[in-house]
Structures are given as structure tokens and as C-alpha cells.
Symmetry: C2
Subunit: 181 residues, 2 copies
């Protein structure tokens, strides 16, 4: 089945600090025309970081769109064409004051594929060394380690809605299942 759509034209609606909104005219596989609203966003990285006790590093951060403080793994946007691995290393240290001696790639996620082009690259961090937290101006967050089983418990009780955190756990558990085969 032909599934692909063809871009006919693109119009910039808004260019902001985080969000750039476009409305494109597209040709559908059935020959009809339609519009696609696309929020273009820079790439980002997120980090599932474990300490030597097998505890995972989580943040508590206020998220304005939800008017809620939520639990998340450390994450942040790539600066320009920064390598996502470097973004992961930098954001982990800036937000929590931990430097990871070991960082390996878990996978990429498309957070909401219908209307943004955002990609978040997720890394597994181990061998953490304490350095110094240095938050961006105006950035506020709390952080701490929790046992991985407690995170799973919270996920099963619907207390962790953040998609990148859930995706990181999915990559990690799927990798463990594969290794256990």
C-alpha cells in the first residue's frame, strides 16, 4: 500500500525560542490534498543514569503546560549541531552534577509523531562521578536516586507520565529481556 505523502508547499506560522510552527500543503496517497501542521523542534537527549547501587537518577521539575511537578530523567536540547552524546553528557552534569564515565546509546524516540519532528536520543549512563551542578538561569529542579524497582512500581501505578522516561525504561527492559534469552 502506498502510504507516503508529498510536500507541495510550506508556510512558516511562528518562529520562537523552542517551537517553530509550519503549515504545509501535502498530496495524500489517494490523490487528494490536505494540510499538515508541523511543530519543528531541535534534537534533544535524555539520560537513564544508574549509580553503583543500581538506583536511577530522577528529577522533579515543574512543567508549565501541565501546571504540574513531574518526575523525569535528565534531558535537554542539543545546542545547534552538538552531538547528542555530548548533549547527554552536558545536560546530566549541568542538571544534577554527575559526570558519567560510561555512556551508551539506547535509542531514539519520536515523542508525538503526528505533529512534531522532535527526536530525543536516549543514553544509558553508568560509573557516575560527583562534580558540580550548574543550572541554566531560571531553571529549577530537584533530583535524587531511587531504586529501579521503585520506579517500575511508580510506572505500574501511573505516577510517571513523562514519555521519554517511560521510553527509556522500555529500551532498558527490552534490552535486558534480549540479553536474558
Amino acid at each position: 500500500m502506498e502510504l507516503k505523502e508529498k510536500k507541495l508547499s510550506s508556510k512558516e506560522i511562528y518562529s520562537g525560542r523552542i517551537v517553530n510552527l509550519y503549515v504545509d500543503d501535502v498530496l495524500l496517497p489517494n490523490g487528494q490534498q490536505s494540510k499538515r501542521e508541523v511543530v519543528r523542534h531541535c534534537r534533544a537527549s535524555a539520560v537513564l543514569a544508574f549509580n553503583d547501587k543500581g538506583e536511577v537518577l530522577l528529577e522533579r521539575q515543574y512543567r508549565y503546560p501541565y501546571d504540574e511537578v513531574i518526575t523525569e530523567i535528565p534531558a535537554g536540547k542539543c545546542d545547534g549541531d552538538e552531538d547528542p552524546l555530548e548533549t547527554a553528557r552536558r545536560e546530566l552534569e549541568e542538571e544534577t552534577g554527575y559526570c558519567a564515565k560510561s555512556l551508551s546509546y539506547l535509542g531514539k524516540i519520536y515523542p508525538t509523531c503526528a505533529y512534531t519532528d522532535e527526536v530525543i536520543h536516549i543514553y544509558l549512563a553508568k560509573d557516575l562521578v560527583r562534580t558540580h551542578q550548574h543550572l541554566d538561569e531560571g531553571e529549577s529542579l530537584e533530583y535524587g536516586f531511587v531504586p529501579f524497582q521503585s520506579l517500575l512500581q511508580d510506572i505500574s501505578e501511573n505516577k510517571v507520565p513523562d514519555a521519554k522516561t517511560l521510553a527509556a525504561v522500555s529500551f532498558y527492559l527490552a534490552g535486558k529481556e534480549k540479553a536474558g534469552q
Copy 2:
């Protein structure tokens, strides 16, 4: 630590079919002012559906922002104030022609918490009965069942970037771990 921000004013930038963009002025915990770009979106539901063989129902759909055909669980937007459970039931049947006799709640996800307020409610579907697919006009997708272990294998090989699908697997595996305790 005070983490919460206070809305001072809100300006609508764009009101579209899927996306509504606002730029708000906010007061930060440190007393400074800042701007928040927020994509307001209706609620949505997604369904992790298993057949009697323990295989999971997956779709292949072209996603314009990524110019890519990706693998996803069935999902769709709530019609107005439709109950997300009803959305899950309706979208599953419309997109794949399967009606679920059993639907239970797994949890909600915030796909990209920094700049949208979208919430996707995820359900577990079992006891599927074949009825009829009836796609929206202009909607194109393929679907089929795959063994759950194959999905895990694909996730561990970074072949499944869709966040709601990864989150659904995370809810499901976390629930299984809890049940196995």
C-alpha cells in the same frame, strides 16, 4: 524548593486543526519573568491490543513530520469531550477492524512535557473480535499482529521510535514485574 511558575498572560498565536499555539508570559520561582510557548492539543487514546496467541496489534503509518513510515500501536484523538476509553474502543475498531471485549487502563503519558499539554491515555485490549475497518477519509495505514517478543526485539534494536508505543510497553512490563513480585 519552590518549582512552580505563575501564568501572567496568554496570547493565541495560531488556532489550527490539530495544533493550537500560545505564547504565555510567566513569573519564575526566582522572581524573573519569562515566556512559555505551549502547543495546546486535545486528549488522545492509544491501545496495546493482544490476540489470543499473545501477539500484539501494530500499525505501519506514514508520519509527515519525519517523512517516514513508522510502527505504532493504534491511537487517535478524542472527539470533543469523548471518554478516552470510548476513544480507545472506537479508534481500535476504525483503524484495524477489531473490537475489544476487554479494555483496561494502563496509564497516561505526557508526550513532550516542555511545550505541549497533550495527554495520551493508554489501554490494554484483549478478547478481540473481528468486525470491520473503517478509516477516516484520507487515512492510510497497514496493520498486523506480531509476537510480543518480536516487538521487544525491535525495541532493543532501536526500530520502534514511537513514544506512545514504547510507553505502552513500559506500562505493560512494569505491571508484569509488579505482579511477579
